[in-house]
């Protein structure tokens, strides 16, 4: 073998080595370390849980929580089967009556079984989204107005500073009373508990979006503003073509903070307003006080955490999609 060939082989080997060590490092940071963290947490949890005695029995460890998660899933499917069976019977009954009397108007009744864990997750997601979207629709335009005009900002700033730190629990009674007083219809599209929860979420979601939007808008580069002035862009065109694109990152920072807060607020609001979501699930289990309750609440805690995380990732994905700067590091 010639000398050059050996050299080439050596460098190729080195290359392979560095490649594999890089790969190993990546595996370590991406998979192994989080895995170790998780295992340590589970072990600590399992060992301490045994030593905590509550009036509802031992604090649930990972194993009980896991089995209760399984139970919740089976309960869900059992309930769905019941519902299907109910509709099947109803259909058969109606067909039978139609055969006897062709003019018969079939009656369709909704199944009124109890809400399963998954129904409750869905209710919570729906409620938080409605609250969050209402808040965003209000906060982004006001934030833009505050960022564009120092005078508007000065006028609104005291309100922001006062209302921002208010706990959702303080709002809730007021919202409840206002909803009961104002929302009176014979055929309600939304339940009152839903409206109360969603509006409480809205009240707490407004502020981070508003503040971050205002900051983002007021920090637009003067050069871009000058371009807009030289072109004599109208106010509206200025907002849509210059202001919005350049403050998208800050707007999204605000939206993500808001959604995070909204999700936390929602659980508390649902507990008190009795909106049939995860908050009510936790509350009902607590009131039930069976030996499984704590484990079931723990399942809810974990699900709430995972959903909160996924909501944040979702916002991040939307931000990546709308942001013009695809190279920006988003985290």
């Amino acid at each position: 073998m010639s000398k050059e060939a050996t050299m080439a082989k050596v460098t190729a080997l080195d290359f392979k080595k560095t490649l594999s060590s890089d790969f190993a490092k990546q595996i370590l940071t991406a998979v192994l370390l989080p895995f170790i963290g998780l295992i340590v947490f589970l072990l600590l949890w399992a060992s301490t849980a045994k030593n905590i005695d509550t009036s509802l029995g031992e604090f649930p460890g990972p194993a009980q929580v896991y089995s209760q998660a399984g139970t919740l899933i089976t309960e869900h499917f059992a309930e769905r089967e019941k519902a299907e069976a109910f509709y099947e019977r109803q259909r058969e009954r109606n067909e039978a009556r139609m055969k006897v009397d062709p003019t018969y108007q079939p009656k369709i009744r909704d199944y009124t079984g109890k809400a399963t864990f998954f129904d409750q997750i869905w209710t919570s997601l729906y409620t938080v989204m409605v609250g969050f979207i209402i808040a965003s629709v209000i906060a982004v335009p006001i934030g833009i107005a505050c960022g564009l005009s120092q005078k508007t900002y000065s006028a609104i700033n005291p309100l922001i500073q006062i209302f921002k730190p208010v706990s959702p629990l303080a709002w809730l009674p007021l919202v409840t009373m206002v909803v009961s007083a104002v929302y009176v219809t014979d055929d309600p599209m939304f339940s009152k508990s839903f409206l109360t929860s969603a509006l409480t979420v809205t009240l707490c979601c407004l502020w981070p979006t508003l503040i971050n939007t205002a900051v983002g808008v007021s920090n637009i580069s003067q050069d871009l503003v000058n371009v807009s002035r030289v072109l004599r862009l109208s106010k509206l065109a200025h907002v849509f073509k210059i202001v919005m694109p350049s403050s998208i990152p800050m707007i999204f920072t605000g939206l993500r903070l808001s959604l995070g807060i909204g999700w936390m607020v929602l659980i508390a609001a649902e507990m008190l307003a009795q909106n049939p979501g995860l908050g009510k699930f936790v509350w009902d289990e607590f009131q039930n006080g069976s030996s499984d309750s704590l484990a079931r609440i723990m399942v809810a805690v974990l699900v709430i955490g995972v959903i909160g995380f996924m909501l944040d990732r979702l916002m991040l994905m939307i931000q990546r999609f709308v942001s013009w700067d695809k190279n920006a590091v988003l985290r």
Binding site: D223, V230, L231, L233, K241, P245
Partner: protein, 283 residues
Amino acid sequence: MNELDKKHLELTRVGIEFPTPKGPFCALKDVDLKIAKGEFVSLIGHSGCGKSTVLNIVAGLYQATSGGVLLDNKEVNEPGPERAVVFQNHSLLPWLTAYENVELAVKQVFAKKMNKQEMKEWVNHNLELVHMTHAAHKRPDEISGGMKQRVGIARALAMQPKVLLMDEPFGALDALTRAHLQDSLMEIHAELGNTVIMITHDVDEAVLLSDRIVMMTNGPSATVGEILDVTLPRPRERLALADNPEYNHYRHEVLTFLYEKQRKVENVSTKKASGSKKGKEVA
């Protein structure tokens, strides 16, 4: 050039005071300047003397506190596309491609005068003028500094301005790219005959490109110091000019103004003087 021609753009006793925490700061005082149609005028002066301020007043981005600017006998008091600006740091919208940046200006200025097809052709025509057709669909962060500046110029030209205002358009570029763009600018000026006011720090650039060089005194209360008419025949060739005595004479005039009549930093010059004295003593 007769006096009537010089009526295109008129600055009359323009002065401006900026409010500062320490009281008003008088940046410009009694700036008088008359510019003819199609003329290429450079503003030169030391950093901080008020060149950008003059340009911004002509652009309408700043309001003069005394005196005023007339363009074709109409007073200038707000920005507008008939006085297009090429900014020092390009100021392209980073979320739009080169084409879209120019298109934004065209759509705004020619909304009622052109149909879609004509607009498209006009955008492409202006990108062609600055030799940027090949990168028309790239974003500003995907093209070089010189290319961004070209797009900035294309955007300004696309507005068909009466006056083209350029604030150190090539200041941030390397010497080669700058020379390249200066040549392009001369070609474009020869072809379109726009009135141009350009700020520069570069004496060679000023002499090469201008019909007149306006030299400004140091601030505060800066004003027009001297005006130098450059009557070198066009088209001008940078290589041929390098050892043209007339060209060197102009250069010398500007340098004399900047470094003798308007010497900028006092302590540096005294140090230098004392240093040379010492040198003499040793010798």
